[in-house]
Subunit: 251 residues, 2 copies
Amino acid sequence: MITNHETQPTRGVQLSEQVARQLTHAIHTGEMRPGERLPTEAALGERYGISRSVVREAISMLRNAGLVTSRRGSGSFVAEVPTVALRLAIPDPSLQSVIRLLELRRALEVEAARLAAQRRTPSQLRRIRNAMADIDEAVEVGADGVDQDMAFHRAIAEASNNTHFTAIIDFYNRFLHHAITVTRTNESLRETFMAQVIEEHQVIVDAIAQGDEEAAAQAAGRHLEHAEWRLRQAPTDLLERIEDTGADTPF
Amino acid sequence: MITNHETQPTRGVQLSEQVARQLTHAIHTGEMRPGERLPTEAALGERYGISRSVVREAISMLRNAGLVTSRRGSGSFVAEVPTVALRLAIPDPSLQSVIRLLELRRALEVEAARLAAQRRTPSQLRRIRNAMADIDEAVEVGADGVDQDMAFHRAIAEASNNTHFTAIIDFYNRFLHHAITVTRTNESLRETFMAQVIEEHQVIVDAIAQGDEEAAAQAAGRHLEHAEWRLRQAPTDLLERIEDTGADTPF
DNA sequence: ATTTATAATGTTGTCTGACAAATCCATCAG
DNA sequence: CTGATGGATTTGTCAGACAACATTATAAAT
């Protein structure tokens, strides 16, 4: 019983998808503003001449896409910061694949360092230095310092004042965590490696502190090059399946 | 009537989400392999002691996350290339925001050009040159050549042989399309701009052809710098809302 | 026996109706 | 004016049915 009282979704594909498209369009064009409540499921069903199930499926899609949030008893609302989903293949844990990730990371972090040198605020610089100190501390205690290392690089990304960098770096770092841990649990090489890492970090921070864009970019580039080299020294059989943290789902 | 015959989702949050979590976990750990068919909705409902509606919502989430695909009459199948969804804020169309995108693009394309120079295959180089020729052709006909321009940059990204670059560049290019179009519809500046662009492209391609990594990276960097400059010359009031192509939804 | 139609079965998509759980709102008591 | 209370609203879940499509088994025909 598809009567299409108001608008007629192009026939053919899934009804829920067609409705989801229309609602998405309304949100993207600003026809429905962030925070605004959308019509009730019953009302939407009435408007499009479809059942509530289909409406729910459509809204479910929007929810999964981060466009709306639903509260039981209250309604569904356009998200404050509408998002779109970038679907990316899950990197497999092979050495080859991790190196591809490092290449991406190099691209991002070189530029992030450059921008950070250009426009870091004093407080951002302070946070970078604190993160660097945290690494030293962790290493002295005997920890691997991987988390601190990532926090350090994240602080630089933040100082770029460009959210795109932080978003993507955050995303991929989840998959690099394991690989980096492996290189640092290699007992024989660990001490020399960490000394190198700390020294390379220092060069980057100095350049950022002095506002020397080119030096910062080059230092970051060298750091990532060396990171790849260090990774290749690690016994590859340690690079096994990426552990499932359960936190990498979009829910 | 929640009996949880096999596994008991931790009670509290949405049922569908809990089920989605479990299924996601099964897929990520490889317990269910790509291409494999998952149990029918009825069977899943039976297993978890929930109704079919909830199962459908859960599967809808997985579908939206790109983890499974469903075929009516056949079943739902684990996707061949499991993905995770990176949810990103939709860039607004302000000049400031577009420039942030260009910064990201510079990071990616500089490195992509470097890698392309390092390992492009002959056929990839051919495709890059064809794309460059397409731009010339479009310009001669009087078109803006934006699509061809993007195809050109995409060809370079492909030649990097690193899928991460192509995926991210593809994603963001949707939002840059409009901005670039604007700079090229500026009648007074168009001819000189296009001449510049074509010349800059030529330098990049030459470097890639000769396998000169450093030159390719520098040429790409300069190209993007100049792109930002050209954008700033365009009347900012033309930068209005990003047109909704309908193709930027994750459906 | 092999191939081609046909029927039977299984599965997802949609419809309908109902109730539970959470929220919102108006009314009323103090 | 404040706070409690009850009813109305709205999403979440359940249940059962049919439609649309796919797959498989069966029968027919050459």
